[in-house]
Symmetry: C2
Subunit: 528 residues, 2 copies
C-alpha cells in the first residue's frame, strides 16, 4: 500500500470520502467511503469504481471492510492524471468522483510480474524477474512472533516468491488452529464448522492484506493459494457452497488485486479437493481472470492430476511433480506442451520426515533447481526438517534449517547475471544438459556426474548476420554449484566447425574439472 | 471392403442401384447409384444417406467416383437389420431406400480401434490392441512392384499400424514423382502445379482405398496423414485454398471412413507447413471429427511445436520427440498432461543417413520402444538405411534392412501376453523403470545398465480386498530384449513388508542377471 493512502486509511473517520491526491505507478490507490451498515453489507451492497485516463478505462470492484467503511482500489499501470467515478446501489457510495496524479514508481518498484519471451518472467518495467520461490503454506496464520520471524528469514533469503494459502491448513505437522478465521461464527467458535458464510471476518482479510504488503516491502511476490484440500471438513472451507466460493473469490480480488506483488494460484493440489469438480476450478479461473483488472499471474497447482494448463487464462504452468526435475531432459518437456513458463512449484522438499516427498537432501534439491534452470524452467523450494516445536518451514515458516538456501542464493546470482531473455534449452533432442542463449551464453551442467575434463564443444549456433560461426570467441568459468565458487578459465575459446551439428575449440582445448559433482561451466561470448 | 459389396461394385453397370443384402459388422456397406454427369459432379451434387436401426441413426456423406457413379458407404457397428434412405439434390440419387442384414464379423475382424483405460487402445469387440507402428510416408505412390514388396514386408513384420500420406512427398531420398496425382491437371501434366482443384482424380483415391483395404486384410491399421509439408510448392498440395482443403477432407472421409482400419492424422509436422496457420488445423480437426460418423482415432503430429493435444476431438497424442523416450521417466510425462494415449510416432529412426534423426542404432531404437512401453506409452518405428536405389523404408517402403524389427516382434509378444488393461507406470515419482499393473504384473527394465543381480523388491501394491500384501506370491522371468530370450527364474517370491513404501521377498531372494544391457524382468502374480 502506498504510504499516503495507508495513512488516509488509518485516519478514516465516521463520514466522508477519503482518497489521496497522488499515488506512484503500480501503487495502491484507494477510495474509501462510508456507506450502509444496515442489512448485510457483504451481500446487499454493490460498489465499484471506474478509473479513467483518456481511452484507458479500468473497472474495479470495491469491498466492505467493516465499521461502515467501503473501499475500492486501483493499481495504475501508467503515470499521469487519472479520474474516477464510483457506482453503487447505495446512494452514499454512488457517483463519487475525483482525480489524482500517478507519479513515477519508487526505485524498488518495478511493477507487476508478467510473462516474457513465452517461457520467462519480467516486471512490468522490463526488469527481468528470475523466479525463485519457496512455500510456507500458512505462515501468516501462526502466532505473531513466528510470523515476524518468517518475514525476517525471508528478508535474508534468496527467495523472491512465496506460496501460501488464504485458508487455514490442517495436516501432519500442522494441527494447531489459526490465529483468526475467515468467516464469522454462528456459535462463537464453540464448534469450528458453524460459519456464517455471509459474513467475512474483515480482520482475517485485513491481516492477510498486511502480510501481502509486508512481502511487497521485501520485494517478494505473494503467490496466493485460493483453495486447498488440507481441511477435509474440519472447518469446511474446502467444501463451501458454490455461491460462497465465488463471493469469496470476488472479495479477495477486490481487496488484493491492486497489490502489485500478487499472484493467484487457484488451488494447491486441486485434484485432492474431493468436494470439488474440475469444472469448479474452470469457473474459479474465469472469475479471477475476469475480475482482476490487472491480470496478475494466474495458475493452478496439482496433486497427481495435472490441470488443463493450456486454458487461455492460465498464465504459467504451476506443476507439482516429484521426478520431472531429476534431469533437464525431463524438465523441459512441459514447455513445448504449454508454450508458457513452467514453474515446478513442488518437486519434493529438503528435509527428513517420513514421507518420501519430504526427505530430499540439500544436494538433491539444489541439483533439481539446476536441472530446471538448464531446461528453461523454474523450480520451487520447500523445507521439512522434523522439529520438536512442530514448526516446519514448509507449513509454518520460522527459520530455515537446510543447506539448500545458500546454494540457491548462489544460483540466483548466476541467474541475475544471465541474459535477460532467459535461459533456453539449446539442443534438447540431442544434448539436454545445456541451457542458455545460443551463440551468446551457455550453462553446461554436469549434475551428479563427476568429470575431470570437458572438451570445449558447442552445438552449432545460429548465424544471424554472420557468414560463419568459425572464429567466434568465448570465455569460460567453472561454477561449483554446491561449494558456491566461480573459477575463471584462462584465455578464450575460438569456434571451429567440427560437424554439421557442432563446433569445437580451434586448438582442441579442454577445460580441466575437479572431479566433484554439481559442477557447471558458464560460457559467454566475447564480442569481437 | 466386404467381398460381396466389392463384387457388386465391380459389376456396376450403367443404370440402377447396387447394394448388397448383407454385410458383416464393421464391414463396408455400400450403396452405389448412377447419377448426373453434367456440370461438375464433385461440386454440384450433394449426396448422402441415413442408415437406421431403431433409434440408432448414422448419417454418411456420399462421394462421386467418376463415370457417373455415386457411392455412399456405411460401417455398421451393430448386427441385425438396418435400413437406409438416400438424400440428394439430384433426382436420380434422392430418396432411394433399402434394407440389409449386418452379420457377425469374421474371425479376424475385431472392429475399429479406440481408446480404452484412458491411455491405451482396444478394438471395438474388446480385444486389446497393442500399438506397434511404423512409417512409410508414400509407399503407395511408388511403382507397383515396390508397393507389393512393401505389403509383403509388412505381412511378415510385427507392425500393426502404418503411417502414410495421402499426398505425394518431395524430400531427401524421395524426389521421384508419384505414380498418380490427386487432381486433374489443366495442362496435361506439362507442369506439376496447374491443377484443377475442382476435379479429384478418382483413380488416385481408388488406389489409396485399395491400399487401405490391403492393409486391412493384413490386420494393419492405416494411419492416414491428411496434410504434410514435404511439397513446398512443388505441386502445391501443401498450400491449396481453404475451400479446396475442406472439400478434399470431406471427400477422403466420405470414401474411407467406412474402412474399420482407418485412423486420421491431420498432418505430419503440422508446424512445418508454412502456408497454414494453427487455426487451419483446428478447422480440419473439427471437419474430420464432425464428418466421420465412426469417430476413428484422430491425431496430429508435430515437428518442433506440439499441437494443443488437449482439444476434445484429438483422441490420442501423436508426438514427435527426439529425446522423450530416452528414458521412461521422460516418456510418461505427457500422459498426465493429456490424459489420453501417448504415441511417440517419431523418435528418430534406425539408420545411417547424415541427419541426426536418421542414424539410431537398432539397439537404441529398441531401447526407446522399451522405455515407452514401461512408461505406459507407445513408440513408432522408422528405418533410414542409405540405399543405392534410393529406397528407404521410412519414405518408400520396400524391404526392412534393420535389426530392430525382430526385437520389436519380441516386444510385441511380451505386450500381447501383458494384462489387457495395458501397462502403467507403477511408481513414477520414485522409480520410473517399472511398468505394469500394480499387484498383478510388473516389467522392470534395466535399459543400458548391466546389472548382475536384482534384489526382489516391489513398490507397495494396492490392497483391494486384501488385509495385507504380505504373503503375495510372484513368479519372475528374465527377458533379454535384444537377444530375444525368456528365462524363467526358479521358484516363487513371497512379499514381505520392507518399508512404508515397498515390499521385498520374505527370504531376501535376489535374481542373478547376465550383466548384459537391455534386460528386463517380468513378474507375475501367482493366484493363491
Amino acid at each position: 500500500m502506498n504510504k499516503i493512502t495507508y495513512l488516509f486509511a488509518l485516519m478514516l473517520l465516521a463520514t466522508g470520502l477519503h482518497a489521496a491526491d497522488s499515488v506512484e505507478q503500480w501503487g495502491v490507490y484507494e477510495v474509501a467511503l462510508n456507506g450502509p451498515t444496515n442489512g448485510d453489507p457483504f451481500l446487499d451492497v454493490k460498489f465499484s469504481a471506474r478509473f479513467t485516463q483518456g481511452t484507458n478505462v479500468v473497472e474495479a470492484n470495491g469491498f466492505y471492510d467493516g465499521d461502515g467503511i467501503y473501499r475500492v482500489r486501483f493499481m495504475p499501470e501508467t503515470t499521469g492524471r487519472w479520474t474516477y467515478k464510483t457506482a453503487s446501489n447505495a446512494r452514499k457510495l454512488n457517483g463519487k468522483s475525483g482525480e489524482f496524479a500517478v507519479t513515477k514508481p519508487a526505485a524498488k518498484n518495478h511493477g507487476t510480474v508478467g510473462v516474457t519471451n513465452t517461457f520467462h518472467f519480467a516486471y512490468a518495467d522490463g526488469t527481468p524477474y528470475e523466479e525463485l520461490g519457496t512455500t510456507c503454506y500458512v505462515w501468516q496464520l501462526q502466532d505473531e512472533a513466528l510470523q515476524e520471524q518468517t518475514l525476517k528469514t525471508l528478508a535474508a533469503s534468496p527467495f523472491n516468491k512465496i506460496r501460501f494459502c488464504v485458508f487455514p491448513k490442517r495436516y501432519t505437522w500442522n494441527t494447531n488452529e489459526p490465529i483468526l478465521y475467515p468467516f464469522a461464527s454462528r456459535d462463537d467458535f464453540a464448534t469450528l464448522t458453524n460459519w456464517d458464510f455471509t459474513q467475512f471476518n474483515v480482520k482475517y482479510f485485513q491481516h492477510l492484506e498486511q502480510r501481502v504488503a509486508d512481502l511487497q516491502k521485501l520485494g517478494i511476490e505473494a503467490d496466493i493459494i485460493l483453495f486447498h484440500p488440507y481441511d477435509e471438513g474440519h472447518w469446511g472451507f474446502d467444501r463451501m457452497p458454490a455461491a460462497v466460493d465465488d463471493r469469496y473469490l470476488r472479495y479477495v480480488i477486490a481487496r488484493l488485486a491492486a497489490y502489485r506483488n500478487v499472484w493467484w494460484s487457484l488451488a494447491n493440489e486441486w485434484d485432492f479437493m474431493k468436494e470439488k469438480k474440475e469444472s469448479d476450478f474452470v469457473r474459479f479461473g474465469e472469475i479471477v481472470s475476469h475480475d482482476d483488472p490487472y491480470h496478475h499471474l494466474l495458475s493452478i497447482h496439482n496433486g497427481q492430476k495435472i490441470f488443463n494448463q493450456t486454458l487461455p487464462w492460465i498464465t504459467h504452468a504451476s506443476i507439482q511433480n516429484g521426478a520431472a526435475v531429476e534431469e533437464p531432459g525431463r524438465a523441459e518437456l512441459y514447455r513445448d506442451v504449454y508454450r508458457k513458463p513452467v514453474v515446478y512449484d513442488e518437486v519434493k522438499y529438503e528435509g527428513n520426515i517420513e514421507n518420501r516427498w519430504g526427505q530430499l537432501s540439500a544436494e538433491e534439491l539444489v541439483f533439481r533447481f539446476w536441472n530446471a534452470t538448464i531446461a528453461g524452467t523454474y523450480c520451487g523450494h520447500g523445507e521439512t526438517y522434523k522439529s520438536a516445536d512442530q514448526v516446519l518451514w514448509w507449513s509454518k515458516g520460522g527459520v530455515l534449517k537446510g543447506e539448500s538456501p545458500a546454494r540457491l542464493a548462489f544460483l540466483k546470482k548466476v541467474l541475475d547475471a544471465a541474459p535477460p531473455e532467459g535461459i533456453e534449452p539449446i539442443d534438447k533432442w540431442q544434448d539436454s544438459p545445456i541451457g542458455g542463449q545460443p551463440g551468446k551464453y551457455y550453462l553446461i551442467y554436469f549434475g551428479k556426474t563427476s568429470p575431470t575434463n570437458w572438451v570445449f564443444q558447442l552445438p552449432k549456433p545460429p548465424l544471424g548476420k554472420l557468414q560463419s560461426a568459425d572464429g567466434l570467441k568465448f570465455t569460460a568459468e567453472i561454477l561449483d554449484a554446491w561449494n558456491m565458487t566461480v573459477t575463471p578459465v584462462d584465455g578464450t575459446f575460438t569456434l571451429n566447425k567440427k560437424s554439421g551439428y557442432s563446433f569445437a575449440d580451434r586448438d582442441g582445448r579442454s577445460i580441466a574439472l575437479s572431479g566433484k559433482p554439481y559442477i557447471a561451466i558458464r560460457i559467454r561470448r566475447v564480442e569481437n
